[in-house]
């Protein structure tokens, strides 16, 4: 494993987008950033800027109202990048799956690498998902 692969795995910067979630998963994501879980020890930082982010965390179901925003954010992130769908809604649309304004899971709009089930997803599961998403970076460009 080269220096670049190690560095990619050790410095994932997150971008968090709420696609219309009930905020349950968002609270869990923020919980992962508190001193109790302290994700910075893995080099993980919560960025507010898609141009600096490596991993996109999306909560809530994809919907007709803001799917363009979601795609725009995804396209602004420079490669290599990974997408994590957090929570049941992000994975499949959840309880909202048959609402008229809902498209379904996030993967209907952008390619998703890791799915985190749960309503709401636990902070430990979210951190695990980020670690799993880093596997994608290790083989990048080979």
């Amino acid at each position: 494993m080269g220096l670049l692969s190690i560095s990619r795995a050790k410095s994932p910067w997150l971008l968090h987008f709420d696609c219309g979630s009930c905020n349950g998963c968002d609270i869990e994501i923020l919980a992962a950033l508190t001193p109790l879980y302290d994700v910075e020890r893995f080099g993980i930082l919560n960025m507010g800027n898609p141009k600096h982010a490596d991993v996109l965390l999306v909560t809530g179901p994809a919907n007709w109202r803001n799917y363009r925003v979601l795609r725009n954010l995804y396209e602004q992130m420079p490669d290599p990048k990974a997408v994590i769908a957090v929570g049941t809604c992000g994975c499949t649309g959840g309880v909202f799956h048959n609402c008229p304004n809902i498209i379904g899971g996030i993967d209907k709009v952008i390619p998703v690498d890791v799915y985190v089930p749960g309503c709401a997803a636990r902070p430990e599961a979210i951190i695990d998902a980020v670690v799993l998403a880093l596997e994608k970076f290790k083989g990048y460009g080979k």
Binding site: K10, D38, E40
Partner: protein
Amino acid sequence: MTTAWLIISAVIAVIVAPLVGGLLKGIDRKLTAHMQGRIGPPILQPFYDVVKLLGKRRIAANGFQIAFAYAFLALIVTALVFFVLRQDLLVVLFILFFGSLCLPLGALSVKSPYSQFGGHRELLQFLAYEPILLLATIPIALKSRGFPVSNIFEYGQPLLPHLWLTFIALLVALAIVMRKSPFDISSSEHAHQEIVRGVITEYSGPYLALIELGHWYEMALLLSILGLFWVTGGLWWLSIIIGLGSWFIMLLVDNASARLNWSWMVKFAWSVGTSLIALNILFINLGWM
């Protein structure tokens, strides 16, 4: 000091300065995390970040941005080389200012409102710290009889006992350059979501890595300038302790204070910074210091 030795030390400085700057940044993050009751990232984290950024895809809004990112790094390295070659302190500072100016110029070349905001705030930071850095050269020049850095080495006694008022003013400038609280106006180190990301909003990937490298050089240069205050008269190692000590004071102040608004920053820097230096010049002329 022979010319050959000076050139060798300049080459060494160009190689070692980013290592020192990056390591200080890593220790900074670790210590800050401990002060906040967290474990914090590994000390080598800034190096991982920069290598990762170098390997990302290149995205830029326009060519100016790219040119200014390279110019930022190149000019700060030039300033460091001039400093190590013991040239005029004014020349070193003016090259440093021109280099630092590339950052807001690059940000203002993009139409994104976040970038514009960040660029304007960065210019306000300049407005606050540049007068202090420039005026601080006057008492140094009065004591060591001239602006060249080599004069300070030939002066024969430490400057700090005579110029401690100037030193305090320089600490204020250092906090503004390092973007530490209460002066983190243009782009906060802690909140990574500062009006998206302040002055570096539109920089990404390898260009952001260049800017980060530039900041490491900048920090190494500024701490070396503070180290000048005890570089001769025996106990030369005190200059290293003074440099690292002032860096640690920045950390303590950063974690103990909230950020304040830009008008407070400009008022504080201009009133306290310039009056400390003015008092120092007065005392030197009266022969008290």
